[in-house]
């Protein structure tokens, strides 16, 4: 039986290890997928300053440890460890670090530049490793991702950028992608009200030829689906504690939920909430959230085999 194999992962958050694993999975045909979908969030969450001392050594604090760096080899090794976890190493003097601490505008600029630089490096690496591979490789940002990366992704020769588009996966399946989410407490780059999200989804679905065979690749999971449990926060962004424990509530999108219930696509691919991985059917739609352990370098994903009629099989993989 002819079928299409989709490999889906998300929320790698700048992890060098995870991205290289994705490329190697394609390069070495590990999953034999003809469609690879890497959804947001793609970029990291933190800069780790490496302070240059006056005596030529460096020091940094990483994962709770203070590290004294005495050689260039060690410097490269530490910088790699930081990048592997998804963070951005940044070498600076004490004064520069102090300035970044004080000046949030400077921090935002630096952050954006580091994010863009890593995405550019990734695209270059992807072009080397995916060359000659007959794989449809999609990358779509999430709400956390700086809008500047969209342009870089759009101009790649090997990576397709499906955000806000209807793209074809094979002869029978189309996919619509929305990396934005509903409003979060963090006010990140890609957030919309539920009404705005609903409109975006409706606009996209109106362009789909066969909605029952469509794949919804939305970063935000459907509300109250079990794929969207996260801590309830107070006004100071601190988790609300009840009885000594963090209160968890569904934080997914009601617009996404309604769209799934209304259109009943074949497959829904979600992410966003790292701590709520799983698979669930909403009506006939299989909804998946692989979760994320990017900082540990563990690449979580799903293999989904689909044919013209149905989902043949799906299973979780950990690379």
């Amino acid at each position: 039986m002819i079928h299409t194999r989709i490999y889906y992962c998300c929320d790698i958050h700048g992890s060098e290890t995870c991205f290289r694993k994705i490329l190697n999975a394609v390069k070495y045909n590990i999953y034999n997928a003809s469609v690879v979908i890497v959804s947001g969030d793609l970029t990291g969450k933190m800069i780790v300053p490496i302070v240059k001392n006056t005596n030529g050594t460096f020091k940094t604090k990483f994962l709770g440890s203070e590290i004294l760096i005495k050689s260039n080899n060690q410097l490269n090794e530490v910088a790699k460890q930081i990048s592997d976890c998804g963070y951005y190493p940044y070498i600076a003097t004490v004064n520069e670090v102090e300035e970044i601490k004080e000046n949030r505008k400077r921090f935002a600029e630096l952050f954006s530049n580091l994010v863009v630089k890593r995405i550019e490096e990734w695209i270059q690496l992807a072009e080397e490793r995916l060359k000659g591979k007959h794989v449809k490789f999609f990358m779509v940002p999430g709400n956390d991702d700086d809008p500047r990366i969209a342009k870089i992704l759009e101009h790649s020769n090997v990576i397709a950028y499906p955000e806000n588009k209807v793209v074809t996966l094979d002869d029978f399946h189309e996919m619509i992608s929305i990396g934005a989410t509903n409003i979060t407490p963090w006010r990140t780059y890609g957030e919309f009200t539920e009404e705005e999200l609903a409109k975006k989804i409706d606009d996209l679905t109106s362009k789909v030829r066969n909605i029952s065979n469509c794949v919804f690749n939305f970063h935000c999971p459907p509300f109250d689906s079990g794929l969207d449990l996260a801590p309830k926060l107070n006004e100071e962004f601190q988790p609300i504690i009840v009885g000594g424990e963090i209160l968890k509530v569904p934080v997914g999108s009601t617009a996404v939920r309604q769209a799934i219930e209304k259109y009943q696509p074949k497959l829904g691919l979600f992410g966003h909430i790292h701590e709520s991985p799983g698979d669930v059917y909403i009506g006939r739609t299989l909804c998946l959230n692989p979760g994320s352990e990017y900082s540990e370098g563990i690449l979580r994903g799903y293999i989904i085999d689909v044919d013209k009629e149905k989902i043949l099989r799906y299973y979780r993989v950990e690379g």
């Binding site: 780790v48 604090k61 592997d84 000594g244 701590e275 799983g278 540990e296 293999i303 099989r313 993989v317």
Partner: protein
């Protein structure tokens, strides 16, 4: 994340789990206590031997095995931290040694525990009966209470014991860990009350003992001697390995938070360190100074002689072993409400082992379901209770079945080799994992804490566990005698029954593998390491 690190971080949600480090520690403690709690000294008559360096050999063995277990404890923290998972006893060997070994390891752990629930249900009912016996000694209520451990009461109470444990497990994880921790704290309060009982009861114990029984503790010791006990017996090889084997298997449980590591909140390394090292230290404190205090307080010869009489004759005082609540009640009978509370805490301490180990096993079966080792529907998580309910129902059913087998006289845990053999891989794999991890999972190896000590500790683990396991665990638990045929030895020690379970696991693994492959699931790729460079 430190304050300075936060300055450089973009705001975003982090991983949120349900068990705090403290609750994970109480989860381990609840697993440790089990039948040992109320019967801290009551088992010692099983291993009579003289004093060494002024200490009973039991305490020295606890100290030695306890100290060696810190190696195992640190290894669990090390190899679980890079990949915290629910069902880590399955997941980690599966990812590092291969899916077969992961499945077989957890299959054996699962079967080592399932019959225990039936056994522990009986022990809980028996402890309840003994608690009422103690109350009847001080005339608070009138006995006899033998009907409690006879049909039909024992059936009703035993089944209720398992059903209540199952219901506790079915609570949402946050509430489950809270209730379990509260009950574990209550049980520890019972221990503290017992310590008080020992201290204040020491001066009056002898006279009160004579008042209740009509004979002195000297007479008690003489009766034990007349029935074959040698209070001056020195430690022999056989008694040494008997003690080693016993302690090796009662100490287990301190590391079980590793298997709920996917549910530990915040810094996983810190959470595991607090829970694993904390609960092992609790075990050491509770087994060594506490038992020493009781033995010293009421007299080594008195307590061991009493325990010996219980295990070897039917003339033990009151027909009971020297359980904590009883010896405290004899010491200061007018304070019986306090010792009653300690006794109730002891009953809960015994019972807690069931809901704690049910979750321990549940998470392993859950992880099988996620990896398609069992039908995936088994791992379905209830949308409101956030628990894999079907597995708990199955566990409850199995618990009741093995309670029935306990009552009718055949529970596999009573076989000498059942637990011993089924725990073998879980004792040995912690030593093998560090040695192979660097080659097989370099990505995970990079994230191992205290990395320089990882491989040396693995080698040390194998160096101590293999000889202790083979000599004490296997040979010590089931010595073969010249008059016994190999076949009858294999039957009576449970070797055949255990091998049947292990072979069934192998058959199931390969059947499931074949079934999955037939369905198009590329089984070997589910956990295949993708080169990280």
């Amino acid at each position: 994340m430190t304050d300075e690190e936060k300055l450089f971080a973009r705001k975003a949600s982090g991983l949120i789990k349900e068990a705090s480090a403290t609750k994970a520690a109480f989860f381990n403690i609840a697993n440790i206590m089990g039948s040992k709690f109320a019967w801290s000294v009551a088992y010692l008559g099983l291993f009579p031997a003289g004093l060494i360096l002024g200490w009973p050999p039991y305490l020295l063995i606890c100290l030695i095995i306890g100290l060696l277990s810190y190696i195992t404890a640190i290894l669990y923290i090390q190899f679980t931290t890079p990949m915290p998972r629910s069902g880590a006893d399955y997941v980690i060997p599966a990812r590092i040694l291969g899916p077969f070994w992961g499945f077989i390891n957890s299959w054996m752990i699962v079967w080592s525990w399932i019959p225990v629930w039936g056994w522990m249900a009986w022990v809980t009912v028996r402890n309840l009966k003994q608690l009422l016996d103690v109350l009847s000694i001080v005339n608070v209520i009138q006995g006899p209470f033998g009907y409690i451990i006879n049909s039909p009461t024992v059936w009703i109470l035993g089944i209720l014991t398992i059903v209540f444990a199952m219901i506790l497990c079915m609570l949402p994880p946050r509430r489950y860990y809270t209730v379990l921790s509260a009950l574990a704290v209550f049980s520890i309060v019972g221990l503290i009350l017992t310590i008080i009982g020992v201290v204040i009861g020491m001066p009056t114990f002898e006279s009160n003992f004579k008042m209740y029984l009509g004979y002195s503790t000297t007479e008690l010791v003489n009766r034990a001697i007349e029935n074959g006990w040698n209070p001056n017996e020195t430690l022999t090889f056989n008694s040494l390995i008997g003690l080693l084997g016993y302690v090796l298997f009662v100490i287990g449980g301190y590391q079980y938070s590793a298997t709920i590591s996917g549910e530990i909140k915040g810094d996983v390394k810190k959470g595991l360190t607090i829970s694993i090292i904390g609960s092992l230290t609790f075990f050491m404190l509770y087994q060594i100074p506490f038992v020493w205090l009781v033995l010293t307080g009421f007299g080594y010869r008195n307590v061991i002689g009493w325990s010996y009489l219980f295990w070897n004759t039917d003339i033990a005082p009151f027909g009971l072993p020297p359980i904590n609540a009883l010896i405290c009640t004899i010491g200061t009978p007018n304070l019986w409400p306090l010792w009653f509370i300690a006794g109730v805490a002891g009953v809960f301490g015994t019972w807690l082992c069931i809901p704690a180990s049910m979750v321990y096993i549940n998470r392993q079966i859950f992880a099988w379901g996620i990896d398609r080792m069992v039908p995936k529907t088994l791992a379905d998580v209830h949308p409101r209770l956030h628990q894999p309910m079907k597995i708990f129902l199955l566990e409850g059913l199995m618990g009741i079945i093995f309670f029935a087998t306990t009552i009718t006289g055949v529970n596999p845990v009573s076989y000498a080799l059942w637990t011993t053999l089924l725990m073998s891989t879980s004792l040995i794999f912690p030593g093998i994992i560090p040695i192979v991890m660097k080659k097989r999972r370099p990505d995970l190896y990079r994230a191992v804490p205290w990395k320089k000590a990882f491989v040396p500790l693995g080698i040390l683990q194998l160096a101590w566990i293999i000889p202790v396991y083979l000599i004490a665990g296997v040979y010590g638990s089931a010595p073969i005698t010249p008059e016994m045929s190999l076949w009858s030895w294999a039957i009576t020690t449970g070797l055949i029954a255990t091998l049947v379970v292990i072979i069934a696991g192998v058959i199931i693994y390969y059947s499931v593998r074949a079934w999955n492959i037939k369905k198009g699931i590329e089984f070997d790729k589910m956990f295949k390491l993708i080169p990280p460079e």
